[in-house]
Symmetry: C2
Subunit: 239 residues, 2 copies
């Protein structure tokens, strides 16, 4: 049984403003919630309806399917909903690669990119303030538990990139081939907005402009920012 005010609070966390105000976010699904519990992310409450969790927590509460429906962002809630405290960004490590996102807007794309960083051991993502919020429910649906393993910071990119001495590789349609670029051991990779790419201000700060070559005859096709990030992170990490 959950009181009305709590249901209302949890539902409100679908909005960025309310997430910021309360310092809380919602993640749904058994696997994702258990990953966050295992990782030790601070828990506000875990709400479960007819599902047995493998990870026990004192703040687990059994609720009815109707109650779950009232707090969930999903049309068909899947039985487990966790409310966690947002993770405080820590200092960025400049001895490895850092991924910078300049205005990525689509929550699915950001979710995909966070999972990719987890796979390729990229510990730090720095986002422009215009990039979609990483606690957006659709981002979290696409990240699974990866959100807890990646340090995500939102900041003014001009300030951040202006202050670094690392090489800055921007991903552009007409840069030099990533295959011919000798990639260093550490640096910054910048990916741009889905429609507009990297902004003019950030472009000016890029020391290198790189591209993934299209194979064969040129078509009108372009790569989605998620798949382009997959390929470029693989290029950074391949031996």
């Amino acid at each position: 049984m959950v009181v009305k005010s709590e249901l209302k609070l949890i539902k409100s966390l679908q909005q960025k403003k309310c997430r910021n105000e309360h310092g809380l976010f919602v993640i749904e699904g058994k696997k994702a919630v258990e990953e966050l519990l295992n990782f030790g992310v601070k828990v506000y409450g875990v709400y479960v309806s007819n599902v047995n969790l493998d990870v026990l927590h004192t703040k687990t509460i059994n609720v009815s399917q109707k109650e779950l429906q009232q707090m969930s962002a999903l049309k068909n809630p899947n039985g487990v909903l966790g409310v966690f405290y947002t993770l405080a960004p820590v200092s960025v490590n400049f001895n490895d690669w850092i991924l910078v996102l300049d205005g990525v807007q689509d929550p699915g794309n950001l979710g995909t990119i966070i999972r990719l960083c987890d796979w390729f051991g990229i510990k730090n993502i720095v986002c422009s303030n215009e990039t979609v919020d990483c606690y957006n429910p659709k981002v979290l649906q696409a990240t699974m538990g990866s959100i807890a393993r990646i340090n995500i910071t939102y900041t003014d990119l001009e300030l951040f990139l202006g202050a670094t001495s690392l090489p800055i590789f921007g991903s552009f349609m007409n840069g030099t081939s990533v295959y011919t670029n000798q990639m260093p051991k550490s640096g910054i990779l910048v990916m741009g907005n889905e429609g507009k790419g990297i902004s003019a201000e950030v472009k000016n700060l890029c020391s290198h402009q790189i591209s993934i070559p299209q194979y064969g005859k040129e078509t009108t096709e372009s790569l989605n920012v998620g798949t382009a990030t997959a390929i470029l992170l693989n290029e950074l990490r391949r031996i």
Copy 2:
């Protein structure tokens, strides 16, 4: 003005059964429709509401927003809806790489994969009969116009793979690193279902089992089939 029976027919094309019966499919959006017109895909009708197309076709019909809503699969139709005849698969070219999909279920993933094939010049995709239909509206939304440039065949994979003399590279969680495999100029790459991977029957037919190495400490993370395909096609095509 569109008669009721035509509205009903177009709406029905959201179902695979009806697409098969009529040999027609629907694609929405100015860019995608124009690409298919430019490519010369046979047109049943192009329905436009308050949008000027740059590509003219005698079968373009102005309709009201209400009529468009009645035929569209989108909540908010975007002004252009094309109905085209499905493309007849042609013979597969065995002198290049062929992508085989063993039960990919998510329409967004198939759409992403078709776009990737277009980018990397992979002309042939061979799908198991269990793979999601390439004319599914959500697939087409994700492919943009790429659908017209790729030859997509649905067939029994055991028969197809059993008959080929090409090397067959299956993508697995625990295969040998794709970085250390010397990839030939032609071959078959097999990608599996989102949850279950490649089926046991198809696995038996793979001559090589490959993987994308995870960087650093192993996490519970896995790669989505779309991003894994991006990375593997890049590996096939990089110089």
